[in-house]
């Protein structure tokens, strides 16, 4: 179809990247990009007066597709029954809540003004499944982070000190299974769990492999850096969900501090859903928030970024490649449990959970996430996530934004949480309220930057025309004092524009678009690539139950395949 020209007139524009902070101005769109100006006579004119104009939301970490999400869907019909979505003239039918169907995922994000969502944990062996679900997730640009933290080839290359080959293998993998970034989940611990073992601290060798989690973390971090991948190593740290685990989290961050070196301050590690990883205390009875320890570290170092994994009191579904954690969780809660180990690569676990205000542990978790968000000074280092659906559904983001922007909103809920938990929190003493620009940094500008998406997260000329317009008039709505009104305005976009097309109007999808799928194509030296391929031919025979040629995903299986090419330093 012919691309639309659009002019958004008189909107209040917020664009932290370009230092625009609530300026009334026009934004012009042509050929899917933001441009200086277009001919008004041939353009669609959107009157945005009294509304805010923002870059479309960019989610750095949300479990929206793939084998584990789908297992969650199959596990929880009762969850779907709470939110059945009929077909409309534009939309396919589906289900919502904690494990929404793919079409619904796309629509709900888009109606909330989000345009880019990255799926953060995928077993390479099942990436064709992930990709095919993403093909069916409309409205959004997407990408995947294949899992490397318990990969046999990785551990073997590390053990043999073959760092060049490791980097080349990572490049081969991303290219073969169409991954975008490198994900580590409980490095080493999941391999141990495959023998029924536990998650391990950083310096205990992985059973049968003679490498430690620390070596995996450092080795992979180095490999990612040498490959010049657009996003730094994305890690779910060891000991997740364990009292006192903030120490492991800090050790993890510190273990790669040297690798950053003179890297123009560019972070080399992204510690994800920190809320689950920064507890104090020694057991569940005396669990406490360790947010201040993390905040202190992050405030003093520039090689690391984080996202929060905020919990929201609700009935949701936890799902992670951290199989041993989910086993422990089901042991504690007696809830249903799915485990799915993947040969030579990774694992997965799923447990439904109902976060309750009255529950001491859940209240501490809620407090921990908010404390971390508020105690870290630089919003460019902090991404707002709920680790959907682990902490809460992505559709609760506006509620989390309201907590960040309103002490009143936080206090209202704090008054209702478990009293013992409340007595142990610093949250009530934190007066900080995010500015709107800070919220935008942690939901689009900062996330896009951390993901290396130069054309996203801002409204400068040349940016992708991914735009959200919300009915938010700061003359009438003060998020600090009227957080509910703010939340409502952020819940449904008046307009969402994706690649220059109006896809949402008045909070409803009016046009379905497929979005694209990004993947990283890192060019390594030919010699190295050949060596690694030779290694892999043998390893495939020994380790996998599929043929190497069937493991590699052909581009024809991808709707709007969008390789991001980088030159590696190996």
């Amino acid at each position: 179809m012919t691309p639309q020209n659009i002019i958004i007139k008189n909107g209040t524009v917020f664009d932290p990247v370009n230092r625009i902070d609530g300026e009334v101005m026009d934004i012009a769109v042509s050929n899917g990009k933001i441009v200086e100006r277009v001919n008004e006579s041939s353009a669609i004119v959107i009157d945005a007066s009294g509304k805010v104009v923002l870059a479309g939301g960019v989610d750095i970490h949300s479990h929206i597709a793939g084998p584990k999400v789908n297992m969650g869907r199959i596990l929880r019909p009762e969850d779907h029954y709470r939110n059945l979505k009929p077909k409309t003239a534009v939309k396919r039918s589906g289900v919502g809540t904690s494990c929404p169907s793919t079409f619904t995922t796309g629509y709900d994000y888009s109606e909330m003004g989000y345009t880019t969502v990255f799926e953060p944990a995928n077993p390479p062996l099942k990436m064709l499944h992930v990709i095919d679900e993403l093909n069916d997730t409309p409205m959004l640009d997407k990408a995947c982070y294949p899992l490397f933290g318990n990969n046999w080839h990785v551990m073997e290359y590390l053990k043999d000190n073959r760092h060049d080959e490791l980097a080349a293998y990572v490049a081969w993998m991303l290219k073969s299974v169409k991954g975008y970034a490198v994900k580590l989940v409980n490095p080493g611990g999941v391999e141990n769990w495959k023998w029924g073992g536990e998650t391990t601290p950083l310096d205990e060798p992985v059973k049968h492999f003679d490498v430690t989690p620390r070596q995996i973390i450092q080795g992979m971090c180095n490999a990612v850096k040498r490959l010049n991948l657009p996003h730094q190593m994305h890690i779910h740290a060891n000991m997740l969900g364990t009292p006192g685990n903030y120490e492991t989290a800090l050790e993890t961050l510190d273990s790669v501090r040297q690798i950053a070196g003179a890297n123009d301050g560019k972070p080399v590690i992204h510690l994800t859903h920190v809320q689950f990883n920064i507890y104090g205390g020694t057991n569940w009875m005396n669990l406490s928030s360790g947010a201040e320890h993390l905040a202190k570290y992050i405030n003093n170092h520039n090689h690391a970024s984080i996202d929060i994994g905020q919990i929201v009191f609700s009935d949701t579904t936890t799902m992670t490649a951290d199989g041993p954690f989910e086993f422990k969780l089901q042991g504690m809660t007696g809830a249903r449990w799915i485990n799915g180990d993947i040969e030579a690569e990774t694992g997965c676990g799923i447990v439904p959970i109902h976060y309750k205000k009255s529950n001491y542990v859940h209240a501490i978790m809620w407090i921990t996430g908010l404390e971390a968000s508020l105690m870290i000074d630089d919003p460019w280092k902090v991404c707002m996530t709920t680790d959907h659906p682990n902490g809460g559904y992505f559709t609760t983001y506006p509620r989390v934004m309201a907590w960040l922007m309103s002490k009143k909103a936080r206090q209202k809920l704090t008054n209702k949480v478990n009293k013992r938990a409340r007595s142990k929190t610093a949250l009530e003493s934190l007066d900080r309220e995010y500015t709107f620009s800070e919220v935008l940094i942690s939901t689009r500008a900062g996330t896009a930057r951390l993901l290396g998406l130069k054309n996203k997260g801002h409204l400068g000329v040349g940016a992708d025309a991914d735009i959200a317009i919300h009915d938010l008039d700061f003359r009438k709505i003060d998020p600090s004092t009227t957080p509910r009104k703010f939340r409502k305005a952020m819940q449904k976009a008046v307009y969402t524009i994706k690649d220059g097309e109006i896809v949402v109007k008045d909070g409803e999808v009016v046009k379905s678009v497929p979005g694209r799928i990004y993947w990283a194509d890192a060019k390594v030296s030919d010699d190295l690539a050949r060596t690694v391929e030779t290694d892999l031919r043998q390893k495939f025979q020994d380790y996998y139950t599929v043929q190497m040629s069937n493991y590699i995903i052909a581009e024809k299986h991808i709707v709007n395949s969008t390789p991001v090419r980088v030159n590696a330093e190996v």
């Binding site: 596990l75 929880r76 019909p77 009762e78 969850d79 029954y81 249903r336």
Partner: protein, 275 residues
């Protein structure tokens, strides 16, 4: 008090009839004409109550004073009386699936057979079925670990398999026979089975009580005998025995109670050696 009568028209459709609008809550304060225009589904086809029923009588302003009488069996119906909170529904004839599902209060009387999932996830009120009940009586939604929480279901005839799955409270009384696995995964509440049961009574139960006055097959291995009792107490009723009293299901580390009639089940006499 007010009465509304819905009389099924001749040759009703054979496709599923979603009749979730039939409840005193929805009828209260409406004229028969308004009631006749309430939406229903005939398969995938949106229609109205008036297409399937003649509506006569008058309604009250509030549901608690309203009795809805349905004349004529509709085995393909769905969700009559679902989520009702007050009043009464009398069904003279067969009813289909989900009668009284998620019911909170009020009364449903089925003078005939009821289909599967009657009283699904019921919270309160009462359902009386003079004929037979289908499978999953008072059970839970797929995947939900909460079945019947409160209220009472009385079945004069037989009930199907998996009655009271995931039941946590309330009472189910079955005068006739029950199908396989009554009380599976139950955590609380009581079941009285007047007749026989083919087996797997109380499978995976962790709490609650089940009494079987008739015959049943071998018990599951997870049950251990505790005593022989003259009577079994089910809510306020004392059921004359004698009963073997068991506890289990130990497979699930459960502490549920089974009362199995001693004289009707001589094949269980071997348990007496463990007393």
């Amino acid at each position: 008090m007010a009465d509304i009568t819905l009389t099924a028209k001749a040759n009703p459709p054979f496709q599923p009839l979603d009749l979730r609008e039939i409840s005193p809550d929805n009828f209260a304060g409406k004229t028969p004409e308004q009631i006749a225009s309430l939406p229903i589904w005939i398969g995938n086809h949106p229609s109205t109550l008036g297409a399937v029923f003649d509506v006569k009588g008058e309604t009250s302003a509030t549901p608690q004073d309203l009795t809805i009488t349905i004349e004529g069996g509709l085995p393909n119906s769905r969700r009559i009386g679902a989520k009702m909170t007050a009043g009464k529904i009398i069904i003279n004839g067969q009813t289909g699936i989900y009668a009284g599902a998620e019911m909170k209060n009020g009364q449903i009387i089925v003078n005939g057979d009821a289909g599967e999932w009657a009283g699904l996830a019921m919270k309160g009120g009462s359902i009386e079925i003079t004929g037979n009940a289908g499978n999953f009586l008072g059970a839970a939604y797929r995947g939900a670990r909460s079945g019947m929480k409160g209220g009472i279901i009385v079945v004069k005839g037989n009930a199907g398999s998996e009655a009271a799955a995931w039941m946590s409270g309330g009472l189910i009384k079955i005068s006739g026979d029950a199908g396989l696995m009554p009380g599976i995964h139950m955590t609380g509440g009581s079941i009285l089975i007047g007749g026989n049961c083919p087996g797997r009574v109380g499978a995976s139960m962790t709490g609650g009580k089940i009494a079987v006055v008739g015959k049943t097959d071998d018990l599951l291995a997870g049950f251990q005998i505790e005593e022989i009792k003259d009577k079994a107490k089910i809510e306020n009723d004392k059921i004359p025995g004698p009963f073997y009293a068991f506890s289990g299901d130990n497979a699930e580390a459960g502490t549920g109670k089974l009362f199995i009639h001693k004289e009707k089940n001589p094949h269980l006499a071997g348990y007496e050696a463990f007393l």
